[in-house]
């Protein structure tokens, strides 16, 4: 017998028994997680803060674009802050999936929480799953809050294709949480997870248009961005919100990232 990872055989036969107590686990983790100020704050309030900050602090963000944009363009008459909304949503996805979730999981690994769990009938996968749920939930809440504020404060138009925006949002979450899972899988320590996550987070935000949203994104950045998970999410949501047509390339890109990274993350995941 070789030195197999001990969780491999148990994973195969755990069936449903390994998930008894998942409800209490999710509840307890959520409650404990809410006690940390930073993580819930960044997940829930940060997108709205950015939106409001940019909307009110930068001059002209709330003025309809009529001068630099040709009248036939889809951007004509929109406010810059409205075109910024898909980017803010993408940022919310990126923040939860990259800066919060991997660090939480890596911390649990470093502190031996996952190892401790693996001695109980609950599988450590349950802990990872609970934090995927918590962070996905936070993202949804954070995005909803930003949307409500955007509607109230900036009178942002509703999407032209709601279904496309929703699809892009879900696919973007899948792709970005797959990236986050890979970081969580390979980072030996919380500090390493944080370092890796940050070195991905900021370039991804750039490519998702945090500094050059929608219409003002340089073509080169847009070309590169459409092949990254967060850039594709931002572009696909922008298309669904303001344009016509289906962002096929971007959606395929997000599906491919998920399909490649998620199995890789599961394969590489270390419980201790």
């Amino acid at each position: 017998m070789t030195a197999l990872t001990p969780t491999a055989p148990s994973r195969a036969r755990q069936g449903t028994a390994g998930w008894r107590g998942f409800g209490p686990l999710l509840r307890t983790e959520t409650r404990v997680w809410l006690r940390d100020f930073a993580a819930p704050f960044f997940g829930i309030v940060f997108p709205t803060l950015i939106l409001v900050g940019v909307g009110f602090a930068i001059p002209g963000m709330r003025d309809p674009m009529v001068e630099d944009v040709p009248p036939g363009s889809v951007w004509y008459g929109l406010t810059p802050i409205a075109t910024y909304l898909p980017t803010v949503i993408a940022m919310a996805v990126g923040t939860a999936s990259l800066t919060v979730m991997p660090v939480t999981v890596a911390t649990y690994r470093e502190k031996g929480v996952l190892r401790r769990l693996s001695t109980t009938p609950m599988r450590p996968q349950g802990m990872v799953a609970s934090h995927l749920v918590i962070n996905a939930g936070t993202t949804v809440v954070g995005v909803a809050l930003a949307l409500v504020v955007a509607l109230l404060a900036f009178d942002v138009a509703t999407p032209t294709q709601v279904g496309v925006v929703l699809l892009a949002f879900v696919l973007g979450m899948c792709a970005m949480f797959a990236v986050g899972m890979l970081v969580a899988a390979v980072a030996p320590r919380a500090s390493a997870a944080n370092a890796i996550a940050m070195s991905l987070y900021f370039p991804m935000l750039l490519l998702a248009g945090l500094w050059t949203p929608g219409p003002i994104m340089p073509e080169l950045l847009r070309q590169i961005g459409q092949f990254t998970p967060l850039g594709a999410a931002g572009q696909a949501m922008t298309t669904g919100w303001f344009e016509s047509g289906f962002p096929l390339l971007q959606c395929v890109v997000m599906v491919v990232w998920t399909a490649v990274l998620l199995p890789l993350a599961i394969r590489l995941f270390r419980w201790t």
Binding site: A3, L4, P6, S10, T28, V32, G112, V113, T120, W271
Partner: protein, 328 residues
């Protein structure tokens, strides 16, 4: 004797060229506190982690509660409690939350409140993990190992880092837990702990069992008999040394004498009857010593006898380091 509740036969585990466990066998009877003792890196933790189904083995057989945990680790988790070294919890989870959460994983869990009473944690139920003292954290860790109502509990180095008072309190708790019917596997590098707590034990050194038995059996089985140390006042020291050296040459129960502490102390070693040789000789010469004490032999002497080395818990290299990647 009943069927063993835990049985390990010829267990072997290597990490590349490094042998963590060479050949370990032992059997634990129901209701025992069974010790696995040895210096750091001897292979104790690897042994118990393997029998708990957390690691694979390269050879040998393991049965816990009749289950082959090498083949089917999941089958035993509901009835085996494990307290691991260096595993902690989220800083902000409270004692009650942690116990309630872990209880929810088990088929037939213990009442967390009763466990908190048993382990003196009831007053700290709402305290967050990071705010617990070392002893409280350790007691919580034991409680978590017991919350599934296990038939067997593995406690690994449970008093490391505790002050002597907390350590003794923890020992009492372990006995209390055993009295509730749980069989306990106690892993320790701390000889005094094993001597105090264990009904039987194995001493492991460099991945092999070097001694097995109850602490009393092992100590009584030592060669070299017993030592009496006699301390003299400065004025009597010269006479005392001569007298006891003379006793050594003519008395059958005395093997040797050793002088220490600038000539004030004389250690007389011989058979268990050595005291009977020393005291009459002193009485006859009317030589009143300042102090007489018999040297208590411990499991450390057993270790010395079976390995030829003085027991140093930190002496060994850590073979487990090589296996870090394999632990996953």
């Amino acid at each position: 004797m009943a069927d063993p509740i835990v049985e390990v036969r010829n267990l072997r585990k290597t990490y590349g060229a490094k042998v963590a466990v060479d050949d370990v066998s032992f059997a634990v009877q129901p209701g025992e506190i069974f010790g696995i003792l040895g210096p750091n890196g001897a292979g104790k933790t690897t042994t118990v982690e393997t029998l708990a189904g957390l690691r694979s083995a390269d050879g040998g057989a393991v049965r816990v509660l009749g289950i082959d945990t090498l083949r089917d680790p999941a089958a035993v988790r509901d009835r085996l409690g494990v307290q691991l070294q260096e595993s902690s919890l989220h800083d902000k989870i409270t004692v009650a939350e942690a116990l309630g959460l872990f209880a929810s994983f088990y088929d037939d869990a213990a009442d967390p409140r009763e466990l908190m009473e048993l382990l003196d944690l009831a007053d700290h139920a709402d305290k967050q993990f990071a705010r617990l003292s070392g002893g409280q954290k350790q007691r919580l860790s034991i409680a978590l190992a017991l919350v599934g109502n296990p038939q067997v509990a593995i406690l690994d180095e449970l008093t490391t880092g505790l002050d002597p008072q907390a350590r003794r309190a923890t020992w009492e708790l372990v006995e209390r837990v055993r009295d509730t019917g749980v069989t306990i596997l106690l892993v320790s590098h701390f000889m005094e702990e094993a001597e105090r707590l264990c009904d039987r034990l194995v001493v492991i050194d460099a991945g092999r069992v070097v001694a097995e038995g109850s602490p009393a059996e092992l100590i009584d089985g030592l060669e070299g008999g017993r030592t009496v140390v006699v301390r003299f006042a400065t004025d009597d020291a010269a006479r005392g040394r001569t007298l006891l050296a003379d006793v050594a040459t003519r008395h059958p129960d005395v093997d040797r004498v050793e002088v220490s502490d600038g000539g004030l102390e004389v250690a007389v070693t011989g058979t268990p009857r050595v005291l009977f040789a020393v005291v009459p000789a002193l009485a006859e010469a009317d030589l009143v010593p300042d102090d007489v004490r018999t040297v208590t032999r411990t499991l450390e002497d057993v270790f010395l006898a079976v390995t030829g080395r003085t027991y140093d818990p930190q002496a060994e290299r850590e073979p487990a380091l090589a296996g870090e990647g394999d632990r996953s």
